[in-house]
Symmetry: C2
Subunit: 241 residues, 2 copies
DNA sequence: CGAGCCTTTGAGTTTCCTCAACCTGAGTGG
DNA sequence: CCACTCAGGTTGAGGAAACTCAAAGGCTCG
């Protein structure tokens, strides 16, 4: 199902990738960057709805997103499931499985997506000659912990409208960092997926979008959103309840 | 305020520490274990209510708990605060700050606590000659990510009574792994702190404890809890809502 | 152009929160 | 040693937020 695309002489490499400043190579010297070029030997194409890895799969690699969007999600024994993250180009997924060398969640494409496969073995080998890579990996994992903890506060202490406002701001900032518009974008996920991520029901999400639109904070038509009054949206998040 | 206790010849070391099978040395050979003994040069005593580190403090070390209990908590700009974790002996705190080399949360003692200070510089040096240490660190960080993600499901999709039941089971298992009774223990945290961790108000936590007790699932008197009907408690968590 | 999914909106219900009063136990000082 | 204080905990009543169930409309994709 998944299409693997071998890297050829002509393929773009880490050293020339436009996502460099968001992805693994952050802060590396040109010299280190060139060593990185051997790290990614394959790319994987994941079509919309397909799964890159599943909970419990043996972990052979982690994946840096080249383009597209992934969701990571977790299903409990009793069938309840929750989305734990939406991932944009330049982000690395699979880090949660490094401990047990088994993936600790599922990763599914929300649109046609391509990822760079970073084999764990190669990663270890290269880390030995490239200490900055090791440090960079630690940074990524630590950042993921911090982000999850911010999400814990979001779920634990924010009301529904604050959560949704925080979600829009977060998405806006991340898209903006990737060169897209901060104020106008397409949601790659359904209302139900947003709800799952935010601990809300899809109807609640839909109602809130309508309410935000009515209040003149956003314009929304299907999955196309325009943030009209950014200050107003930020105010929703900050007004402590 | 914090008392630092230098390690002497007579102090217990990693190679002889009874927490070895829960802490950094998990799965290390005797040979590797002895190299570990140089890693911890100081211990720190944190009295009840004192803070080991705060959000934004420069990170010089991470800390393995020797005895006692810590909470890690995060306060947002608007003053809202949430507990992101309770930490028992053998657990390592401070990992969330490794990315930015600044602590990403506050860590406060719930009772008199002693931690082993693992200086980051020493850690890096030793990692070079002790690859299993590096791997172990990755395991710890990755485990923390997975745990946070389980907590995200807890906050995002469980009802109040399920959250509290899950909390009791989790605590019971962790205490049991440390040689304490799985069925009878003392809560080191207040109702308010439990509520903060679980995204509930203290009154809700108190009511639920009373209801659990009334249903014969637990006995509770102040902070002393006895899990009477473990199967019943587990059933509460699993009955999907 | 039809099927199926996604989304919106309404009505009624449940859950948990808020506010408030009161209780309990540990520590303190007269 | 006892009364007092104060933080932590319990319990009740009422209300707000979000959920459930339901119905209908709109898009997308084959």
């Amino acid at each position: 199902m998944l299409t693997t695309i071998p890297i050829t002489e002509m393929s773009p490499r880490c050293s020339t990738c436009s996502l460099g400043q968001l992805c693994l190579p952050v802060g590396m010297s040109q010299q280190d960057l060139e060593k990185m070029d051997t790290l990614v030997q394959d790319r994987v194409r994941v079509r919309k709805g397909e799964t890159l890895y599943r909970l419990g799969d043996p972990l052979t690699a982690v994946y840096a997103i080249r383009f597209g969007t992934l969701k990571t999600h977790l299903t409990m024994e009793d069938g309840r499931s929750q989305i734990t993250g939406f991932h944009l180009p330049g982000e690395v997924v699979g880090l949660d499985g490094l401990g047990e060398m088994q993936h600790a969640s599922d990763a599914t494409a929300l649109e046609d997506t391509e990822v760079c496969m970073v084999r764990f073995g190669d990663l270890q080998t290269l880390s030995n000659v490239l200490p900055s890579l090791q440090h960079q990996f630690m940074r990524l994992m630590s950042k993921e912990i911090s982000q999850d903890q911010v999400m814990l506060i979001t779920l634990g202490s924010m009301r529904a409208e604050e959560r949704l406002a925080a979600f829009l701001i977060n998405l806006s900032e991340r898209l903006s960092a990737r060169g897209y518009s901060a104020s106008e974008f397409v949601l790659r996920m359904s209302r139900e997926e947003i709800g799952s991520y935010l601990g809300l029901k899809l109807e609640t999400v839909s109602r809130l979008f309508s309410r935000f639109a009515e209040a003149g904070l956003i314009q929304i038509r299907q999955r196309h959103v325009k943030l009209v009054d950014m200050a107003g949206i930020k105010q929703i998040v900050n007004k402590s309840c």
